[in-house]
């Protein structure tokens, strides 16, 4: 829209100067990038949270017939080592169990998969967030310090009923959980 100023000579000593400044800036940029990567690696070391370790397969057609995802085996199980394992599935348009109950101050392992399409698994107010892909088992580990009651919406478009796919998570006091677990092998908070 306006014209160029007159060009400077190509052998201007300014050219050398410009190159030096450019190099300096490029080095700063590289350092910024390296800082970010180191931060990501350090966060990994301190186990802020990490991608799941293993790739495990499961047939979404037969989830309800056999294996660890049959309906009677879903929910929260107490493990011999004191941790708990939550098994859950996503399907159009609900999670099973519809309400997940876990104790405070306990290592919680989640194992979940999908029975049909891709779903998302997000516990509001936490960074527990994973995808449920049919054919694969998603795992995540968490530890909750305070009792909360959260929504657990599906966060990936899974069909026209997607907006109705809201589960619940209740983190309850460890002692109260142990009382519940005394006479049931798989716990849910579905009423």
């Amino acid at each position: 829209m306006t014209g160029d100023p007159p060009p400077s000579s190509p052998h201007d000593p300014g050219a050398e100067h410009a190159l030096r400044i450019e190099r300096r800036w490029a080095s700063v940029a590289v350092l910024i990038v390296i800082f970010l990567i180191v931060m990501a690696a350090v966060a990994g070391v301190h186990q802020a949270t990490m991608p799941q370790l293993k790739l495990e397969l499961v047939d979404p057609r037969t989830l309800h017939v056999s294996g660890e995802f049959i309906e009677s085996n879903l929910g929260t199980a107490v493990e011999p080592d004191g941790s708990v394992t939550v098994r859950a599935i996503g399907q159009q348009y609900s999670f099973v169990p519809q309400c997940i109950v876990v104790p405070t101050d306990t290592v919680v392992h989640f194992r979940a998969t999908s029975g049909d399409v891709v779903h998302g698994f997000l516990i509001d107010g936490t960074n527990l967030n994973t995808m449920l892909i049919p054919g694969f088992i998603s795992t995540a580990t968490a530890r909750f310090s305070t009792p909360i009651e959260s929504h657990m919406p599906c966060h990936e478009y899974c069909g026209v009923g997607h907006e109705g796919m809201w589960g619940k998570v209740k983190v309850i006091d460890k002692a109260a959980f142990e009382k519940l677990a005394a006479d049931r092998r798989r716990l849910t908070c579905v009423d």
């Binding site: 829209m1 306006t2 160029d4 100023p5 060009p7 400077s8 190509p10 201007d12 300014g14 050219a15 410009a18 190159l19 400044i21 450019e22 800036w25 940029a29 590289v30 910024i32 990038v33 970010l36 990567i37 990501a40 690696a41 966060a43 990994g44 949270t49 990490m50 799941q52 790739l55 397969l57 047939d59 979404p60 159009q92 049909d116 399409v117 891709v118 998302g120 997000l122 509001d124 960074n127 967030n129 994973t130 995808m131 892909i133 049919p134 054919g135 694969f136 998603s138 959260s150 919406p153 599906c154 966060h155 990936e156 478009y157 899974c158 069909g159 026209v160 009923g161 997607h162 907006e163």
Partner: protein
């Protein structure tokens, strides 16, 4: 020297027409699921609209802008008629036909699978075929860019390729390779299922192929914007480009590191190993490098313009800039949005921070800010800059242009900041309805209303943009003179072969993609028992 003006105008008009319609759909979506509107009682209409909005904005609009701008650059930068205008018209026709073929089933509700496809959901085959036709049309453009570059190089041995053409061809190669991931997904996985040849699909493998395209496509959208930063902005504001070589380097870096980073979209997915997730995370960090280099070079170029205009002081020169010039204004807005959007992107790139916001409204806010904001506002600037040269008529509504750019900027900020915020609060994306009466969601209502207002401002801005262009078509004839690009402070007499051509960079681009994607793809493809039943969409009415 622009000869095929009608060709270029056709691309821009189709792009902006599609953009205008998709913009209206976007705002409608915002409105009907906000507390301002009662529930429409039909979620399918919402998902249909999201599919149309996404497909038009992601596949059609930026592709046509890149193609039209690419043809303009070819003629203006190489200063000779383009080779193959008939092929270019064929490419245009394919994009137009593909758009119609894809959009009809979407409009009828037979393909509400969203533009990201989401197998094992399978919609009407025509939707996917339409998208493939669009991509094939754009590949004709890729071939033409290459042919024109090499013909020029043959006739001008040893001469530096003008930066505008160099970056334009880099963008076309980026797109050619980027589109391969989704093309494989569509042709070998989705279409056989959509056409009824198979009844199962490998959902995990499909997602890996799509991630190959899904992230790098953003850099394809970004290329016209960066080309404008380097080759239009300094000239338009009366300055000079600080460094020609830095520009080449930035575009080359994009070419290499755009592709092998897409797995960061799959951080939360079970089908890719954690080692590859970390590798992609590292390269995602490196994709910030060309942007940081660009920010420096363009700020320096802008400072040159300011000082030539008598600007003084460490920061005082900023006031000397031609702020009434629409290109200057657009660039400043674009940089601000790029800054915020880039900061958000740095959060998305690490697994740990991403886990808080993955697939929430944060993500929607993020890519609207980067693409809809930083990138598209420069598309407007490109159109304003080129229009008099294409129409042979004056584009004189400077006040309107400034208003349009300012409203776009404000609208985008008001739209996306609350969007990011509700994402942090845990609002999942792409839901047709939110029940704001629920105590846990009530706090999000105010932010959602703010976003709707932002969207309304964007609709007004979009309308202003179309008005400015139409007025430009009706204005009195003028001679706009030859179309020129920025001149560097130190114009290159010779550049190293490496910075004047692509073989090395294409080899690195493909090589690095193979390193980062080869094993995850081969691993999943080799698993025999990962195909899952398809779930047809839109069949039960």
């Amino acid at each position: 020297m622009l000869i095929n003006k009608r060709l270029i105008l056709a691309h821009f008009w189709l792009a902006f027409a599609g953009f205008g319609l998709a913009l209206l759909l976007g705002e409608w979506q915002m409105f009907i699921r906000s507390p301002l509107h009662a529930w429409i009682g039909n979620p399918e209409l919402y998902y249909r609209s999201v599919t149309a909005h996404g497909s038009a904005m992601a596949y059609v609009f930026p592709t046509l802008v890149a193609m039209g701008f690419g043809y303009a650059i070819t003629e203006a930068a190489l200063k000779r008629p383009m080779i193959g205008p008939r092929w270019a018209w064929l490419g245009f026709a394919l994009v137009a036909i593909g758009t119609v073929v894809a959009m009809v089933p979407v409009a009828l509700g037979h393909a509400s699978v969203l533009y990201t496809f989401y197998p094992p959901m399978i919609g009407s085959p025509f939707y996917y075929i339409g998208v493939v036709i669009v991509v094939i049309g754009s590949w004709i453009w890729v071939a033409l860019m290459s042919v024109n570059l090499y013909a020029w190089k043959r006739d001008n041995p040893g001469q530096p390729v003008p930066l505008a053409m160099f970056s334009n061809v880099a963008g076309s190669y980026l797109w050619a390779w980027t589109a391969v991931g989704a093309a494989i997904e569509l042709i070998f996985l989705i279409l056989p299922a959509a056409l009824g040849f198979t009844t199962t699909i490998d959902a995990g493998l499909s997602r890996v192929f799509f991630s190959w395209t899904l992230h790098a496509i953003v850099y394809f959208w970004l290329f016209p914007t960066y080309i404008a930063y380097y080759t239009i902005v300094p000239r338009a504001i009366g300055g000079r480009l600080y460094s020609d070589a830095m520009g080449r380097l930035a575009f080359i870096l994009f070419l290499i590191v755009s592709m092998p980073i897409g797995v960061h979209h799959l951080f939360m997915d079970p089908e890719v190993g954690s080692g590859f997730k970390f590798m992609h995370s590292v390269f995602t960090a490196f994709v910030a490098l060309p942007t940081l280099l660009t920010v420096f070079t363009i700020c320096a170029s802008v400072e040159i313009a300011a000082r030539l205009r008598g600007g003084k002081g460490a920061l005082g020169w900023i006031t000397a800039l031609p702020w009434r010039n629409p290109i200057m204004l657009a660039t400043a807005f674009s940089f601000i949005m790029l800054g915020f959007g880039g900061a958000g992107g740095l959060i998305n790139m690490s697994y740990q921070l991403d886990s808080t916001i993955h697939n929430t409204q944060w993500i929607t806010g993020h890519f609207h800010l980067i693409f809809g904001g930083a990138i598209v506002i420069m598309y407007f600037a490109i159109a304003y800059d080129l229009w008099p040269h294409l129409t042979g008529r004056a584009l004189a509504s400077f006040g309107l242009m400034r208003l349009q750019l300012a409203t776009w900027f404000v609208g985008m900020m008001v739209l996306t900041f609350p969007w990011h915020w509700v994402g942090i609060l845990g609002m999942p994306r792409r839901m047709a309805f939110y029940d704001y009466t629920d105590p846990a969601l009530a706090a999000q209502a105010a932010s959602v209303i703010a976003s709707v207002i932002g969207g309304a401002i964007l609709v007004i801005s979009g309308a202003l943009f179309i008005i400015v262009l139409i007025r430009g078509q009706l204005a009195p004839r003028v001679d706009a003179g030859p179309y020129r690009f920025s001149v560097a402070v130190h114009e290159p007499r010779r550049v190293p072969a490496a910075l004047n051509g692509f073989p090395l960079w294409l080899a690195l681009m493909i090589g690095l993609t193979v390193v980062n994607y080869g094993f995850p793809i081969a691993n999943l493809a080799a698993l025999s028992n990962t195909a899952v039943p398809i779930v047809p969409v839109g069949t039960g009415r």
